[in-house]
């Protein structure tokens, strides 16, 4: 699916994660800032990528600022960002959740 508009979810507070999705041209591209990049960078990307796949998004610029979020938080923020980016906030995709 195509990203219709740039969308943001999450905050920069401790234990949260901020995800901004915008139109991409070259698959899924990540720009990740995290204090635990070395330890969990790949896990964070994988979690977000799985959510994007569930929404059938295969091209996006994903800007992520992680402040030590746990996996369920990352997933929740990613889902919200996707729904906002696809302009379907009012039609939740239960099979993705």
């Amino acid at each position: 699916m195509e990203i219709k508009q740039t969308a943001m979810a999450g905050t920069l507070e401790s234990s949260d994660i901020q995800i901004v999705l915008s139109q991409g041209s070259n698959g899924i591209e990540f720009d990740l800032t995290s204090d635990v990049m070395k330890q969990f960078g790949d896990d964070i990307k994988q979690t977000i990528e799985d959510v994007l796949k569930a929404f059938k998004i295969d091209s996006a610029m994903v800007k992520v600022v992680d402040k030590g979020a746990l996996t369920p938080v990352i997933k929740a923020r990613a889902i919200t960002a996707c729904q906002r980016a696809l302009d379907m906030k009012d039609q939740p995709q239960w099979e993705v959740l």
């Binding site: 740039t6 943001m8 905050t11 920069l12 401790s14 800007k63």
Partner: protein, 354 residues
């Protein structure tokens, strides 16, 4: 800890006083109207006792006047992050996902921790950027220079409108080099709109195929990198801002694009532009050369060709003398649109600026 974010309405004098005092205690002392008036929204962070412990403002797509109180409890970092989140949320609601920050060099890491990238840094100031589009997407969108081009140079111009003087400068650069980037200033505050200015530059430089015309985006002589160019200001502010503009050009554009020289016209009449040229000459070398070309003179050789002169003629409606100042393409455009241009002047568009 329950600290809450509330909006601060600065048109209330009591609130404004409190806000100013808070910032003054933290080393921010400039409250010139031209800075404060551009603020769209201000938020404050309050602790349980209703003390102001942090504030930040947005103006267009830039974050300004951000400060938090550091009472030694170790909360200042989390307060800062909370404020930046809230400001970003507000900017996102307004549809801005490209965000800029002007700040002091010592706060570079605080902003980098919340995802900002440094665009330019001098001893006195710092510009950071976050979001998309950004400098990378801007660079990717520029026209590609031909393969095998050895000497690549750049000219930045407002071209309000494109004159024979601009053409002379471009011609000189085009003859001496393999490839010339002409960046047209993006800020739309001039008599001629950005689209018109770009169109006239494109038409006026058609004869050379090694000239690439591009929009300067947010990165060249824009409100962001160089507000004083558009707002008359003290010399120090100009020096400070031109230094940022020059270092942004050098590091983010000249280096990645392989631009070796920047061409300038000498500036006998405009004070701001003259200071700008001086700054470019101090900051760009040795990596990027600066070549200053004497201005083209009109007629008997007394008057330099300047776009300001042309705008004065448009105001008076005198079409005849235009031919000695502007190339045919620009003259034709002015003839066809004289009414429209004069109407803009009547409406209050300033014509005696840069």
């Amino acid at each position: 800890m329950a600290e809450t974010i509330q909006e601060l309405y600065l048109h209330n004098p009591m609130i404004k006083k409190r806000w100013e005092n808070f910032l003054k205690d933290r080393g921010i002392t400039v409250f010139a109207d031209q800075e404060v008036d551009t603020i769209d929204q201000t938020i404050g962070l309050f602790d349980e006792q209703d003390n102001l412990v942090g504030t930040g403002s947005i103006a267009g797509k830039t974050i300004k006047y951000i400060a938090v109180s550091d009472d030694g409890s170790g909360e200042s970092g989390s307060r800062f992050n909370q404020l930046v989140s809230a400001l970003e949320m507000k900017l996102a609601e307004a549809g801005h996902f490209q965000i800029f920050v002007f700040t002091k060099p010592q706060y570079e890491t605080s902003f980098q921790h919340v995802g900002f990238n440094t665009l330019a840094k001098t001893d006195y100031g710092l510009i950071l950027e976050k979001g998309t589009p950004n400098i990378d997407t801007y660079r990717k969108g520029l026209p590609q220079k031909p393969e095998g081009a050895k000497s690549t140079v750049a000219i930045v111009m407002n071209a309000n409108p494109f004159t024979k003087g601009h053409r002379y400068l471009v011609e000189k650069a085009a003859k001496e080099n393999d490839c010339v980037y002409v960046f047209v200033v993006n800020q739309d505050v001039s008599l001629f709109t950005t689209q018109e200015r770009t169109q006239l530059v494109e038409e006026g430089t058609k004869d050379w195929d090694n000239v690439l015309v591009a929009n300067g985006g947010d990165y060249m002589v824009s409100y962001l990198s160089f507000p004083a160019y558009f707002i008359k200001d003290q010399d120090n502010a100009i020096k400070y801002q031109t230094a940022l503009d020059a270092s942004l050009f050098k590091n983010q554009l000249a280096k990645p694009l392989g631009i070796q020289t920047r061409y300038l016209g000498t500036e006998p009449t405009s004070h701001t532009t003259n200071l700008y040229n001086e700054t470019l000459k101090t900051i760009l070398p040795p990596e990027v050369d600066v070549k200053e070309i004497p201005r083209l003179t009109a007629g008997s050789g007394q008057n330099v060709v300047s776009a300001r002169e042309v705008r004065a003629l448009i105001k008076d409606g005198s079409i005849e003398p235009l031919a000695q100042y502007v190339p045919e393409t620009t003259a034709n455009f002015i003839k066809e649109n004289l009414d429209l241009l004069q109407k803009r002047i009547l409406k209050g568009q300033k014509i005696n600026g840069n």
